[in-house]
Symmetry: C2
Amino acid sequence: MSQLLSVAEARLRLLNAFSPVESEQVQLAHAAGRVLAEEIVSKVDLPSFNNSSMDGYAVRSGDLDGTGPRDPIELLVVADIPAGIVPSLRLGFRQAARIMTGAPLPEGADAVVPIEDTNQYRSEKQIESGFSERVSVYRQVNAGDYVRPKGEDVCSGDVVLQANRWLRPQDVGLLAMLGIMQVPVFRRPRVGMLSTGDELLPLERPLQPGKIHDSNAYTLANQVIRDGGEAIYLGIAPDNEESVTEVLEQAISSQLDLIISSAGVSVGAFDFVRTVVEKHGDIDFWRVNMRPGKPLAFGNYRRVPFIGLPGNPVSAFVGYEVFVRPALLHMVGLNETSRFQLKVNILEAIESDGRESYLRAVIKLQEGNWIARLTGHQGSGNLLSLVQANALLIIPSGVKSLPSGAVVDAWLLDQFGGSG
Amino acid sequence: MSQLLSVAEARLRLLNAFSPVESEQVQLAHAAGRVLAEEIVSKVDLPSFNNSSMDGYAVRSGDLDGTGPRDPIELLVVADIPAGIVPSLRLGFRQAARIMTGAPLPEGADAVVPIEDTNQYRSEKQIESGFSERVSVYRQVNAGDYVRPKGEDVCSGDVVLQANRWLRPQDVGLLAMLGIMQVPVFRRPRVGMLSTGDELLPLERPLQPGKIHDSNAYTLANQVIRDGGEAIYLGIAPDNEESVTEVLEQAISSQLDLIISSAGVSVGAFDFVRTVVEKHGDIDFWRVNMRPGKPLAFGNYRRVPFIGLPGNPVSAFVGYEVFVRPALLHMVGLNETSRFQLKVNILEAIESDGRESYLRAVIKLQEGNWIARLTGHQGSGNLLSLVQANALLIIPSGVKSLPSGAVVDAWLLDQFGGSG
């Protein structure tokens, strides 16, 4: 091991070694959840034509001067304009056209009178079938009233979406509205996962005495997928140089952007990985001032970035969240790779050991404040207490104890809605 | 239209009409993001055997009585136990076994001395290759020290995961640890989406005068997918009975759990959908006291639930979030279908019209408090202001104005991390 680094220092060093991957074009139907690689400039106006924002009558506002509830003016209805039709007429003096929401205004019209302000408003159904030849209007309107003018929302040439942001359902909807069929997004970074340790068995094999199932592969793969990467399972390497070399050499041929390993649970076992990686690349072994997961290996194997995580299930999970996730989000093209931090009130006193600590907790909103309780014992092998948690509390370095009621930062591990 | 309902009443009526769909078994590798259909009971203990929580020496604690930094006791090292190996020896008087983290304790041993408390701790590398035949221990230990006892985290018969919850990466990891290869999850509900309106063109067709591209299909499909459903695009039906009938009849053959329509933008245009649905089912047309999106149609077509949303892009989006999402989450098996509501401080005065209003805003955390600013004009056709927002502010019914600084509830539309 070399230096004792703070979490922030270690994360910064790591992030500096990563860049966004290249982009690719995807069909709009597959764009949600991807990160935009270029800003999107509209080539059209939205709306693309002046249209009515109400069901009613297109009018020339000047014809209605002096109109009021007791002084209606009668107009001649010369056309019926449903949505989707381009009217070819031009309104003359005291002429009106019945118009539906979203339909283009006819020439000459500069405003719309809602049907509620006419004698045609007979029921809550609002629009009767057929139309009268005359309509009495009870209300004066100004030019532009109830009209959505061309370009009101978006003008041709406007930047509508910045690069380096996730595409959400509504963003994809806007792109459809603009007629954009393909979008440039960052491709999904390919992340290979290596599990090492003589004690590990794949899930498919029945447990034997002294062995455990490789759970980290499942946890880490799903973290990678959640964060926009593609997870490639490299398998389990027993604790010997030949096996580790074989797996890493295979990994190289699958064009990975990052290799992560979860070590055999002990530092000693990790030595085989270190030796192999050093032969064909570089590796630093950092001690990070954090709990769980003090040791962190970082380097490259044949120029593919390599991050070595601890083997204990909770340490591997937390190490991923603290270090791998920001690196992956950076590769995936996001500008902002840090998590929201909520301020939460702890409902019990907390002891810490002076390292920056990530503690499993359940947090909930109570009258607008977040409150937190730890979930059972915090051993780094105890995955159940992580499963019972919906947040990690972050106890700063240097803190040895906090009283009940203290405020700490927290990462929410559940998403606010949405799947996963 | 019939009654004027509050949002809460309308949502409750809607939810009462839905039940969770049936479950299916999926391989663990495909379980993340799905909702558990049954509780998971462990059939094993975790850990499944007593094992060391440190690299060090397995000892009989009684042998070390009176040991201290100045009074070391020397033990005979009779074995080396790496992880994954079942030791066959039994420790005798003043005997020790070198042991790696995670390795099973040999018989007779009741504690572990960390290597740091012995004369074998020479460097930060901690574990040297090979081992000495004798070790000097500088520390007394109690029975159980640095031992992770069998069943400490999970006992056979324990419920480790409740039904009706999302499976996250860490949950899948725990299932792998328990050796569970298949899990019962609710199948993805199949949601058909119908767009109606003479003005709509599919994205693939170039825009024509008076027409707009069907963007709701893209927004709604991705909302459905985000919330755990399968989205089936039924296509665009022009405003006539024959077309709407044709699309709905096709829909029925694809075994849908829910049909949602986004209407042609006007109430009049919706009448064709109403007429067709009424012929083969039932439909109620509710006025909901909300903005945007007052009209909401609810019923069934040939016993498939049907929800009719407004056609304006923002109204359709908000209508989905307020009504369709909880129904879908209920079908998908979740107990809790409502969103987290954050309390946010508005940084500007807000006018409302007395309806429960969902306003587009950007919110951010500032020194532990959420602050909010509206994103431009709130017309229900202005999708750009929704794209610029990361939250919807909820202005309660009956409120006509709020001063700057007031506190309102908000839904966060971005996820706290994660893709999409």
